[in-house]
Symmetry: C3
Subunit: 205 residues, 3 copies
């Protein structure tokens, strides 16, 4: 198990935890919480794979199911203590976001799609799982209203692109891309950076 795989599983674990915790707030049963956790963790990558017309990544090996099961067990056993670990999970989540974005970009560029498709696929891989999660628990998607989230994926994707454009080594470009996402996300939360809200028209539509 190499370093990238460990990061991948940590990110999956953090994403699954976020889904399971929101499901628990809605009083879902264990199975429902598991499904929400799994969809949060693999949903973005699944949408990407369907759009790219490649076999969904989590159907190749059962490890994502197992990591989600571990996340469910963790929440069941440690219950309230999970809240104290909020900062840890936040870091994992940001790392997962960065890694998933780069993985998604890589995968679509490997299938000969142009860079702008790659950036969309990277963003979908990182952020769409959270949107599916919020659809399942019947909430307005959090990521469209809180601190910068999906835009960090777009930003990281652009950084990655600029690196390759300037001839930077591919591995270095990946690392820079992922770190850009993570940094932007950390800064966004630390300084409460949000995008402007559209002036609401109430009841006119």
């Amino acid at each position: 198990m190499d370093f990238l795989t460990i990061i991948d599983y940590l990110g999956t674990f953090a994403f699954a935890i976020s889904g399971i915790r929101l499901a628990s707030a809605k009083r879902f049963d264990w199975f429902g919480a598991y499904v929400v956790g799994f969809v949060t963790a693999v949903g973005g990558g699944t949408i990407r794979d369907l759009l790219l017309d490649v076999p969904p990544f989590w159907m190749q090996q059962p490890s994502y199911l197992i990591v989600t099961a571990a996340a469910l067990g963790f929440v069941i056993i440690f219950g309230k203590y999970v809240i104290r670990l909020n900062n840890t999970f936040f870091i994992f989540d940001a790392i997962g976001l960065g890694l998933f974005t780069v993985v998604g970009m890589e995968k679509s560029i490997a299938h000969d799609y142009p860079i702008w498709v790659g950036i969309i696929m990277g963003t979908l891989t990182g952020a769409a799982g959270g949107v599916l999660r919020d659809a399942l628990i019947n909430e307005v998607p959090l990521i469209f209203r809180k601190e910068i989230y999906a835009l960090a994926c777009v930003f990281g994707g652009l950084c990655y692109y600029l690196c390759t454009f300037w001839g930077v080594n591919d591995v270095v470009a990946q690392i820079i891309g992922a770190i850009s996402v993570i940094l932007m996300r950390l800064l966004a939360v630390k300084y409460h950076l949000s995008l402007p809200v559209l002036k609401g028209e109430t009841g006119n539509t």
Copy 2:
């Protein structure tokens, strides 16, 4: 029209009825109710077919559209009397759940996927239509909170697997798998068997 086809249409009819009734409670028009009924009936199998990258089953022949139309006509004509048939529809729904689970497993195993993918695909075929239905009518998915539902699909899938593992004839294994789902579902509702609910964290996420 063989026995399996009749069961398939009965299950489709029961699933469509459940969608149409929930849509009617939300005051959808006939077209909306039809769409919700159709999505409830074929949604799970459609997600399965997209993930397996095979043509969606209901696009091969119009019978599922026709059965859904019959279900809509039934609810329009018999209106309130439908409620008296609750138990009948519940039995149809359980039979459909069992059959759909086995059909979904078969299909993914026929495409050389391992058994754990088969169990997921069987469960998706049986239970994901109800989740899509609840997303369309903007409700928190029922199956993640009420008596055991999707877990019955997982259980039936495991029974089917054990049968084939022990060398049981394939048709017998299918029947045992389907009956396991149906029995577990009937027992769950009769004795109000539910999975534990995750201790909710309110407002921490």
Copy 3:
């Protein structure tokens, strides 16, 4: 840029505006509004392309992303004045609906699907983006309850089919199909034509 492309972009613009306006009523940020606008505009065609197993149309060229960006800029800059243009957008939306329906039908017939699949695909292309939009903003889908909308796509699809059945030239059949959708939609809104609502069972399901 030919006439059809201009119509296509106008329709995309109108669909994106409708998504962005509803997102702004929910106080989404710019990124969220952009995503909702984009999903409203291309969501139906994406579902169609996934079901037909062809590459999603908007991944072939960035123009749909750019039109959506223009729609977002338009709403940001002109804000409240957009409301005064309600009638203009309504016309664009109806034209887009007609065009998208015919495009969807054409595409599935070009892939050798029967006419009834074509009508479904046309209706999905025209109307499913609005359903995805309402799922994203966590509202009950509007099109299942208000004036005739998706049924206009079905009607236009049938008109198109009858034209080809009677040997009408293909381009003429397309124009008649699109105009049927547009006319039915305009008449539906002008005369408040709605489908019957299913008699609700409250709390029985």
